[in-house]
């Protein structure tokens, strides 16, 4: 069982929460390209390591939280009110290059 230090309800079992997805601002639907929107919908970073994500405290305060969690060890570094992370941002664009093809030269 992993436990999440909810800023409103203190340390609670993860089963009280609903996992929402990786944290990151939603691109503005009016200005986004179909490719960017698709990336926002589908292409998670899915890292084996530290990641920032959104959780919803279904059986508690019913607030959205931004949680930093290690996906291999289950360790949680922080949990804070999601706040502005939920708002859509006109500047938010996904991090992978548009073409989908990596640059020549190999290692990132």
């Amino acid at each position: 069982m992993i436990r999440i230090p909810c800023p409103y309800c203190n340390l609670r079992n993860a089963s009280e929460f609903r996992y929402v997805g990786e944290a990151g601002a939603r691109p503005n639907p009016d200005r986004v390209t179909p490719a960017q929107w698709r990336r926002y919908l589908y292409e998670a970073a899915n890292p084996a390591g530290w990641t920032a994500e959104l959780w919803y405290h279904t059986m508690g305060c019913r607030r959205f939280l931004r949680v930093e969690r290690h996906t291999v060890t289950g360790e949680i570094r922080s949990a804070s009110p999601a706040g502005r992370h939920l708002e859509s941002s006109p500047d938010a664009v996904p991090t992978v290059a548009d073409s989908g093809a990596p640059d020549a030269g190999g290692h990132p």
Partner: protein
């Protein structure tokens, strides 16, 4: 180890030094990687192949699944694909000269409400059109196949019927891995265990080789067959795929005399159960509710599982759970895999298997080998390409999931 006559048993596979180059490098020595290597050698004569694994052979999802094989899927593409796998499994012991203990004992998916019964009818009709033996049967007939099942109206989740799939069953998953490994090795393929890939070299959009903990290797073709860890390998070439990794847990009980002859699945109760040849009950459930690469079991899993199994079969309340474990699954948005070419030339993927990977092992190997050898997309997986997410051609296979993941 010594055989019955006192002579040493021949080793099934041996250790090799890593060669400086191979024609094909396959990352992941699970059933998919090993089957791809085997069919490359057996069907296409390509034997200068290395299969690399950071751990031991078959130590990931290939050795952690609940060993169930079936082809009663929901989409025609899915049914055709997994049915080819069942056909290959049927002949696998003879083909590999290795007893894989395939037991086609029948596969039952219970329906506890009208909507699941509707999906069962839908699946049965799709299955029949593809020539797969699959039909919806009533509660009484289900009870005849599984006498210990509670089909009474008093049950909290009454059994309204079930999807019966006679060719489905179980297989010894380790034997499948070992069999493919041995057969591939006999044809000249090299399997390198404990050889972790740390980087992939790409020049001008083309794969040129891989870097490993045992040295660098050049290869014009690299196949990513790493299931749950697929994203970590794709990161090395800068490709992001629509994958999310979730653990899937399973458990076994102490062995008892045979009383359960078929595989029983309940989607509503999130559980599937079968009895092994040595009498243990093997249980599986849905994936964990949030992404993780952790392979530790959890108490919530065991607790929920036990409750659900006892809804179905109250009489096994005294059975003790011997052990539980987890494997990791790379889930795609539509529950169908991602196979074939990627934007990096020479870098092929055989990923996104979610909870279906083991069932698809042989056919994935056969078709990936064809893709590698001929450069053409095999018809069987043409719709499982990466471009489908961009083009809105998803192959929705969630309705065929054993349990509601």
């Amino acid at each position: 180890m010594r055989g019955a006559r006192g002579t040493p048993w021949p080793r099934s596979f041996s250790k090799h030094d890593l060669a400086p180059s191979y024609d094909v490098v396959i990352i992941g020595a699970g059933v998919h990687g090993l089957a791809t290597a085997y069919y490359l050698a057996a069907n296409h004569g390509i034997t200068n192949v290395a299969v690399l694994d950071k751990g031991y052979l078959g130590g990931g999802a290939s050795g952690r699944n609940t060993a169930i094989v079936r082809s009663n899927y929901l989409t025609p593409e899915g049914v055709r694909f997994y049915d080819r796998s069942v056909k290959l499994y049927e002949n696998l012991a003879a083909e590999l000269n290795y007893n894989v203990m395939f037991s086609q004992r029948g596969h039952l998916t219970l329906a506890h409400n009208d909507s699941s019964l509707r999906t069962m009818h839908w699946r049965a009709e799709v299955n029949k059109l593809q020539g797969v033996d699959s039909e919806v049967i009533g509660p009484e007939e289900t009870k005849r196949l599984v006498p210990y099942l509670d089909i009474s109206r008093r049950a909290r989740y009454p059994v309204l019927g079930s999807l019966y799939h006679p060719p489905g069953g179980t297989i010894r998953h380790d034997a499948v891995n070992w069999g493919y490994a041995r057969a591939a090795e006999h044809l000249g393929v090299q399997i390198h265990q404990h050889t972790e890939v740390t980087g992939i070299d790409v020049q001008h959009g083309r794969v040129t080789g891989v870097r490993t903990t045992r040295g660098d290797v050049s290869a014009p073709i690299v196949v990513n067959a790493t299931a749950g860890w697929a994203s970590t390998i794709c990161d090395m070439v800068g490709i992001r795929l629509p994958l999310v990794t979730h653990p899937l847990q399973a458990a076994v009980t102490e062995p008892v005399k045979v009383f359960l002859e078929t595989v029983v699945v309940s989607g509503s109760l999130h559980v599937y159960v079968s009895q092994t040849d040595r009498g243990e009950l093997v249980f599986g459930a849905s994936v964990d509710p949030f992404p993780s690469y952790s392979m530790r079991g959890s108490l919530e899993f065991t607790e929920e599982l036990a409750g659900h199994v006892l809804e179905l079969m109250p009489s096994i309340a005294k059975l003790r759970v011997l052990r539980q474990w987890a494997g990791v699954c790379d889930m795609t948005p539509d529950y169908s895999p991602i196979m074939g070419k990627t934007p990096v030339e020479g870098f092929l993927v055989d990923v996104g298997w979610g909870t279906y990977g083991f069932k698809a092992g042989p056919v994935a190997g056969e078709t990936m080998a064809e893709q590698v050898a001929t450069g053409k997309v095999p018809e069987l997986f043409a719709t499982f390409d990466l471009a489908r997410f961009a083009e809105g051609r998803l192959v929705g296979e969630k309705g065929a999931a054993a349990v509601g993941h």
